[in-house]
């Protein structure tokens, strides 16, 4: 009896699964091993979010009681990410970024279900705000834990600067602010 139900669920699952976006120029598909590792990491994050004890409640509280949901989701997401790191050990940067995206998506989904966020509020600005809050909260928490490695941070920032061709640090010496290079969406289409 169970088999048809499971098959049906599996079939529905495949229908509901988010289709993978077409790859951009220069993108490389993650290997099956990397994909499996990401899924394992996500399982840990998901179990923290849905923890039946106080931790799960408090993470929900962080999101639902925030005056600005993007702040709440950012703080909660960084907490979940650090919690996942605590349980699994150091996570490679490339996976950490994808995992962050998955965590933000999960928390946003829960916030919409709970009525704290409207579906049409999830736009580029929301993603920008939630991600910014998550990273700033992550840096702050890591520093207060004494786990912020300045060399690692320096390396990450340098790489991101090379990728984007923009730098806060060089801006100070340049003196003049850069001119806007078009909207966020157009940059997203071109560079990624």
């Amino acid at each position: 009896m169970d088999q048809p139900i499971q098959q049906q669920a599996q079939g529905q699952a495949e229908q509901n699964a988010a289709p993978q976006e077409p790859m951009q120029d220069g993108e490389v598909q993650a290997t099956e091993q990397e994909q499996a590792m990401l899924e394992q990491l996500y399982m840990v994050s998901d179990s923290i979010i849905h923890n039946e004890g106080q931790a799960g409640d408090k993470i929900a509280e962080m999101v639902l009681k925030a005056q600005d949901v993007s702040v709440g989701i950012g703080n909660a997401a960084s907490t979940v990410l650090i919690g996942t790191e605590k349980q699994t050990g150091k996570i490679p940067d490339d996976m950490k970024i994808q995992l962050s995206m998955e965590i933000i998506a999960t928390l946003s989904e829960l916030a919409v279900n709970a009525g704290a966020l409207a579906e049409d509020e999830i736009d580029d600005d929301f993603i920008d705000a939630a991600t910014s809050n998550m990273y700033s909260s992550y840096l702050t928490a890591k520093e207060s834990m004494g786990e912020l490695d300045p060399q690692e941070l320096e390396s990450s920032v340098s790489e991101a600067e090379q990728l984007m061709g923009a730098s806060v640090r060089n801006q100070k010496s340049q003196g003049q602010p850069q001119q806007p290079q078009g909207g966020l969406l157009s940059m997203g289409g071109k560079n990624v």
Binding site: A9, Q12, A13, E14, N16, A18, Q20, E21, M23, E27, Q29, A30, E34, Q35, L38, Y42, M43, I48, A55, I59, M62, T79, G83, K86, P92, D93, I97, Q98, M101, E102, E119, I122, I127, D128, A129, T131, S132, Y135, S136, S137, T140, A141, E143, M145, L153, E154, V157, A160, E161, L163, A166, V168, R169, Q171, K172, P177, L184, M187, G188, V192
Partner: protein
């Protein structure tokens, strides 16, 4: 290829596929309704761009602050001033918030402590957002009001009052709405800050109160003039200093109380029928093997909280670091 570059060159399948069967099964189909939301975020093309911008903007600000002898959190707090998100800030070429980590007067605030400066930065952001609300009200007058509100050197209450004044003098209903939003946003932010500070000690509360409401409104006295002369980061430094002092004082008081409690417990103990004061105890003559009426253990006076070990503690730490939920 290094980690960050890999991250932006690598394509992943959404994790959802692996779990949706389980979720469908356990949520009786409820999950189906929400996959659309996940798709929207996971399919977003801006996420990676935003992630890179976030690293450049906040990471860069953190490095600048650390290079200047401050903390990463202080740099992050500074970067929040005037920004609603790193993506939009970087795309617009607006690095002023992040680059101000090397500005004059910043180092004091930075070295004074992370939490206070971070909150200050967030408060300034709230002010900037409130100013934007006035812009969207859409009149020339509202632009004037926003210009005043966007002067981040002013105290939060000052900026709000200025917006409200301009709005009322011009009689623009739209501006009033913007100003009202500014007042509400400012008030709630202040409530959050003062809640955090009040939990830490009365000195800090007083300092915060001056910072929040009295900075510009009570412009007369010597102290208030000196306070206004501190500048935003100087004020943050004073508040942080107050918080640290109050925290130290509270820790000392707690230790003293714990030691007194332990001493009181020790005095109650009897050793072969005689208590610590030399009096014969009620159970004199009886040998106490510790089986009857066991005495409670004295509380640990100076154990540092090992918050890293539990997720709950981590969450508490996060709340304390970012100044509550908001």
């Amino acid at each position: 290829m290094s980690g960050i570059k890999k991250a932006f060159k690598k394509a992943w399948r959404p994790v959802e596929k692996a779990f949706s069967a389980m979720n469908q099964f356990s949520t009786l189909g409820l999950h189906k309704k929400t996959t659309k939301i996940r798709r929207k975020i996971l399919g977003s093309k801006v996420f990676k761009v935003v992630a890179a911008a976030v690293i450049i903007y906040f990471g860069g600000a953190a490095l600048l602050s650390m290079a200047g002898g401050g903390t990463a959190a202080a740099g992050v707090g500074s970067a929040w001033a005037g920004a609603q998100g790193a993506g939009s800030a970087v795309m617009a070429g607006n690095f002023s918030g992040a680059a101000s980590a090397l500005g004059s007067g910043f180092t004091g605030g930075a070295s004074a402590g992370a939490a206070g400066t971070f909150s200050a930065g967030k408060a300034l952001t709230a002010e900037a957002i409130a100013g934007d609300a006035a812009i969207t009200a859409g009149t020339t007058a509202s632009t004037v009001a926003t210009g005043e509100a966007a002067t981040t050197e002013a105290a939060l209450a000052d900026g709000v009052a200025t917006s409200a004044d301009v709005a009322s003098s011009l009689g623009e209903k739209a501006v009033e709405t913007g100003a009202k939003q500014a007042v509400e946003a400012g008030a709630s932010e202040l409530a959050t800050s003062s809640d955090v500070v009040s939990a830490l000690g009365e000195n800090a509360v007083n300092t915060s109160a001056v910072n929040a409401g009295g900075g510009a409104a009570e412009g007369g006295g010597l102290l208030s003039n000196a306070w206004n002369g501190l500048g935003e980061y100087g004020k943050a430094a004073v508040v942080s200093g107050g918080i640290q002092m109050a925290g130290t004082a509270m820790a000392g008081k707690a230790e003293q109380e714990a030691a007194e409690a332990a001493a009181a417990e020790a005095r109650k103990k009897t050793y072969w029928g005689i208590d610590a004061d030399g009096n014969a105890a009620l159970n004199a003559g009886e040998i106490n093997f510790g089986l009857l009426a066991p005495t409670p253990q004295a509380p640990q006076a100076s154990t540092a909280p090992t918050w890293q070990t539990s997720l709950d503690d981590l969450i508490q730490r996060q709340k304390a670091t970012v100044g509550g939920y908001a």
